[in-house]
């Protein structure tokens, strides 16, 4: 590496693949922040050579060559079973399934629910940006009431389309002792990293299923500027999607 390059390189986690940076997510997208916290978590836990990273379809697939960890890009909604299959065959590996809200709460909901029920020793990370970003901003299971998307042009009407999915609340309700469930936000990265580390550590310790939802942003499809983007993440989404830990092994549940 030349001196000039070193001077220009921003600080990035050791386990990131520098050759695929800058990454391909839109400016202002929360994926990059979530993946940075995940990278730091992997570095701090010193598990780079044991992690298998699986990514879903949708914007999350842009992370397929993001890390210097063995990675597999799967089908829409099917990352959880692929990682489950790997983990069942080789329990010494650490399986991370990375997906969006469509992959986890809609097309792959049965896999999330049943992995949680079986207490699969894998870690699922789900990015909630209230819409289907890759296909151009349609309604997702997490779209807020009244929110305009390409398939709810007059705003999401809960009478017609139901209320946003509360994923961690659902997973916490069906998961048993040993599971770790939390919701973090790109608005609080230190806390998000703490949750991600605990979620991975929980798998390393062999306790059970770990699930972290990340409240994230999508300025491209929200058609918001920086100020409005942060306002939507920190106010509108925060009001509906409560940040915190929902299930911690060996601990009384806290909100």
């Amino acid at each position: 590496m030349t001196r000039e390059k070193i001077a220009l390189s921003p600080a990035m986690p050791k386990c990131w693949n520098p050759e695929t940076k800058p990454h391909k997510f839109c400016p202002g997208c929360g994926h990059g922040l979530a993946l940075k916290m995940l990278g730091e978590a992997i570095d701090e836990l010193d598990i780079q050579d044991r992690v298998i990273f699986g990514c879903d379809i949708g914007c999350s697939l842009l992370s397929w060559d993001f890390f210097n960890v063995d990675s597999v890009q799967t089908h829409h909604g099917r990352t959880t079973p692929v990682i489950t299959g790997i983990k069942r065959a080789r329990p010494e590996l650490i399986g991370i399934a990375y997906m969006g809200d469509g992959g986890g709460y809609a097309i792959g909901a049965q896999h999330l629910v049943n992995s949680a029920t079986r207490n699969e020793k894998v870690t699922a990370i789900l990015i909630n940006n209230t819409n289907y970003g890759m296909t151009g901003g349609q309604m997702a299971p997490t779209t807020l009431p009244g929110q305009k998307t390409e398939t709810t042009p007059y705003g999401r009407d809960p009478e017609e389309t139901g209320y946003p999915t509360l994923g961690p609340e659902m997973v916490a309700a069906i998961a048993k002792e040993g599971a770790y469930v939390a919701r973090g936000s790109i608005a609080n990265l230190r806390q998000l990293k703490k949750f991600l580390k605990k979620a991975i550590q929980n798998q390393v310790d062999g306790n059970g299923f770990s699930f972290v939802e990340v409240v994230s942003s999508c300025p491209t499809n929200w058609r918001t500027n920086a100020e409005a983007t942060w306002s939507f993440v920190e106010k509108d989404m925060a009001e509906y999607f409560h940040v915190g830990e929902f299930k911690v092994p060996g601990q009384k549940e806290e909100k």
Partner: protein
Amino acid sequence: MSEKPVTGERRVFMTGNEVCAWAALAAEADIMYGYPITPQTDIMQYWTRLAPKFGRKFLQTEDEISAGFTTIGGVLAGKRAFSATTGPGNVLFQEPMSMAEMMRIPTVVIIPQRGGPSTATVIYSQQEVTMTAFGGNGEGFRIVYSTAGHQDLYDYTIKAFNTAWKYRFPTFVLGDGYQAKMREPLTIYDPAQRGIQMVKTEPLVGLEGTPGRDRPTQYLRNTYNTEEELYEVVMEIARDFEKAAPEIVEWQDFDTDKEMDVLILAHGVVSRSAQGALPLLREQGIRAGHFRPITLRPMPEEQMRRAAAKAKRILVVESAYGQLLKLVQQSLYGLAKPIDTLLRPGAGVTAEEIADQVKEGR
């Protein structure tokens, strides 16, 4: 590690599903993932009873989509992983199998066909030929063995693992509900004692060393950005498939060395009825032969054409409404031979019925 499940050779009397479980054990399969559906479920039931005794694993998934994708996961981790399904379960399997096709993941799936379309019957058919060979949103780069009985089930289940891992295409053992539920005598054996070496498996993720430092990182994908990029990928798979096809194709022929009045084309258990029809026809002075493709994908086209060239006409017999027929027409294109059919979707066919059809069709 536990002792070998099958040592030496042993004469047994078993259902086809039990045979498949024993064959997977003998083939050193590490893990089965599956979801119950009749008439496949007993494979799982035998496996779950036998596997723990030999240090093998099992996962019952939430549906067949998950069974297929977890099987893929097991293979990616470097294990000899398999599943079994049928009918509507086979429909759901097409999604994961299209991924296996694109990414050259050597999955093995055993399919005792049941009636279709839809839920249909839990009993028997040959209606999953098209789906097993060509399902998914692609070209059908898969290997399909059609078994005719219990010895076949044992032999080809073992072989399926080796073919899959040698050529890296998803491989299927296509049986049917009759074979699954019926008992037959057969010989089970330790493959090693017959000189059958199990092809070594290797992990596609979770390799030794730190990725990016000690070795290149494994990046596996099935998504491509441009038409040109995808075209190159698919054409490479096509070339590999076509190159491997002559080594993979298998067939049997009966009385096809001379000129024939009729060549009976049938696969799977129906082939046994066709074999039974030959002496009945001979008694009546009809010169009949029979050709049985064992691999339906790739199809032994050349061998079938050679046999067909010696016959005045062809009779295609199957427990489906024209699925084998389509493959035969494709294989024999350009050969000017009349094709008669006996198509019985979801129903069995006897030797007498085939002999009658031959006489009727004259």
